[in-house]
Symmetry: D3
Subunit: 190 residues, 6 copies
């Protein structure tokens, strides 16, 4: 995972110092539909998937999401690392600052801490894959709201890239659902 | 319940586009002493009430509170539905927006999610009705703080109406408490 | 809603006193994929649905889920209302009892309180309806696990009925998704 | 506070080793209506009370509740301090043990952590005192459920003593409410 | 404890009305590394400490932290008690105000409620004392971030005093760790 | 990470079907001092470490902890995968089963969901590394309690291995602390 990230970490371009945008971007670091939720969800659901291919898809995407989690953390950090106290005061980042300084932290844009309640794992592959498809759609929507508020061109580029990945993941989970349904049907007939 | 709401939904007048006020109003959609807390609390306490009249009061008020919950959601939504991104950026609503767009969501004004820890149900009608009376007093107080910050005349009117309802509910729970205490006394003597 | 429940409340047959089963059934009263999550989720997502039919489906199913929430509460209550202290001690219901007596409470089978983090509302109808379809699949799975542990024939019958409803809801949300996608396509073309 | 506790700590008699009862007693160490909730609530509400006597009642009772919190912790600890692993395994205390060993911890009997969501402070003395009266009623109810499940005579004695204190506190908060209402009335007239 | 506070309460000088700073200061009233976390943590860990001196250090510092908790509450309250509605509107304190008016409340600067998850008690004195030393370091860091954003000289003075206390506590926990390790070694040898 | 796990996954020997032990083991999958807490903590603290070596230690150990997280999940799953309903009913695993079937889920042994409140990241390397050392001590203590309740020889072997790793990590974080303090001193002098 972190090897993969090494390749990605340089293109994470941030053009401005912008504590407000950092406070918003953190939504995908520790919010309901963020990258941490995605990674932990898919890696938790692996044990009860019925086929090797379904397990493999969850492993691949779960690992990729953790790399994206690091990208988001890097964006948030770069947006504030050179900020002065005066640039921070009066922004939504100030409440984050008095607890965490400039370090990223897994909470959402409103400061509510990440919780495993954001995900589930049901030991029912059809239910799990529907949750996964929904998760990708919700992550896509979050990226759209973030792109709307971003006025940093580098950040916007990365957010667009990550949004596209969610669409690809949605499709791959759709394929996994078909694999699982085929498997369930074959089990019933033989 | 929702039939009742249909009658009420038109008078929910909102005169301005005001994302900051929407972010504050959401306190009564998903905050500690908001309408969801009230509705879920009273409907949860029904099973262990000792008399039909006490159960009926909880059912009536619980149902009315869910209708008020919808009124609050409508206020919050109308305050932002025509807002541009520029009107949202830099307000306390921005953190809500990057997660939920313009949809209401059951968290409080600070973005802390609604939790059943806001209520209790003790299988002790005297304790439960004291909690209910306290809940109405606390909801009244919240409406007063919200009225203080509201600068939208239509919203203020509705908040005043809802505050009045909490006072009426407080009195009705006082009556229910007397019913229950009479019942408890009669049980002891016969 | 509560009128509807009046019709349903008598067939809620419970054949045994069974505190352990009550403690498990409470999963659908206040757990992640239970009836409260469903009701609050659908009624919260209504404001941002783009067509009247989609709104109507959310209103109908959300209202029905709150009625099911009451059915679950009734099952849980009937399973313990005649239990002696000796029947409660040593069961998983004991931890519930020392806080709530025999009243239902919106937490899950492990006693974790209901939280709005179990749902989302994204102001993106496609994402919301995918979440709804996933929610129905997860509720179905939960009912299957509950049916597996139930040894009360009356409770099992009701759980089977509720499981079937989740399958119907899943299909109706699939229809709502098609309505919304048609609407989105038509908007793009004209 | 802790001086007060020194006087009280010896009469805290525990007659048995009983991990299950320890797991239940912990409800009042870290549960919704337990002693920690009471202490933190009253000490938080002091700043906005309008008269010195009302502040004094909150300070006195808040401090006493923290001493009771220590009594509960002592009960819970004594019930397990001599327990062998075999006495712990298979009881509801086992889940507590693998995290906290035999130390008390502020969660409820179901293991849900203490949260400030259990209380409120509204800057409205009438609302706050109603919450306080409700809190005392709910604490009383919890002690009754605990007394019902206790089969340790020493523990039962202490629980009865603590239940009585909640009744006294309820009455004192009723007096504080009259003081505050008199004050409010006098303010209006002069 | 509260006697001790009486001595301290007068030097708590606040020079300005500053709702934004109040909203930040509340971090140490109900945040992860604030005074409430410290007090509850140390007083919870007392039962399983192996020597009287270690217990005494925990009791002393735990009690002092609760007094500091009250100092922080006093700072937060004084910063807003004379604020007009217009001074509150548009600041991060507004979300606090619509729920709690001007009363302090144990949540962090972002409004996330205090939870016992911020601390642990492991029945392992070496682990507990390491947690305590870490807690003091984290509290010190929080005070530094708060001092950076404070522009009220009186508040800054008190924050500096409290920061110094954390450094002293860190050293005292280091001594307690040596006491415990000596005790553990002596137990092994004899 | 997951490559590393592939090597490790076969030696994860489990000798029994034991739902109660699975319910306890889950403490390290989603509890306060479990492997997920460790992994997320260290990977979150990387951005603000002042030297490459300190960052590297956090990356290495954080990645290893995520691999250990998978080992724990595998232990929990293997302990229940062949369990019949009758073997599950009446055990502490039953509450887990009705929500998650036999899939692992990131909550603790009492069923309380994992939350980011279990960790912090302060943008203060000295404070962060003290938290990390404390975390390792607390994880070690948890492993000791788990080893005490385990009666599965294969599981016990793995738990002993993981406990040893925590001791090694504690030492490495001690080294990182010295690196950071040297760095801080050098900065002050030149």
């Amino acid at each position: 995972m972190w090897q993969y990230e090494k390749r990605l970490q340089y293109p994470v371009r941030v053009d401005t110092t912008n504590p407000t945008l950092a406070a918003m971007i953190i939504e995908q670091f520790g919010g309901a539909d963020g990258e941490l939720s995605a990674g932990i969800r898919y890696l938790t659901q692996r044990w009860t998937m019925p086929t090797g291919r379904a397990k493999g898809i969850l492993t691949d995407i779960g690992t990729e999401e953790l790399a994206h989690w690091e990208i988001i953390g890097t964006l948030a950090y770069k947006l504030v690392k050179d900020a002065t106290i005066d640039q921070i005061k009066g922004t939504p980042f100030e409440a984050h600052y008095v607890n965490h300084g400039k370090s990223p932290f897994p909470h959402n844009a409103a400061g509510s801490p990440w919780t495993a309640n954001y995900l589930n794992s049901k030991d029912d592959p059809v239910a799990d894959l529907h949750e996964d498809m929904a998760a990708e759609e919700k992550a896509r929507a979050t990226y759209e709201w973030l792109i709307n508020v971003s006025d940093d061109p580098g950040v916007t580029d990365t957010l667009r890239y990550l949004r596209e990945r969610e669409i690809v993941h949605f499709q791959r989970f759709g394929e996994a659902l078909m694999i699982v349904e085929d498997y369930n049907n074959s089990k019933r007939f033989y």
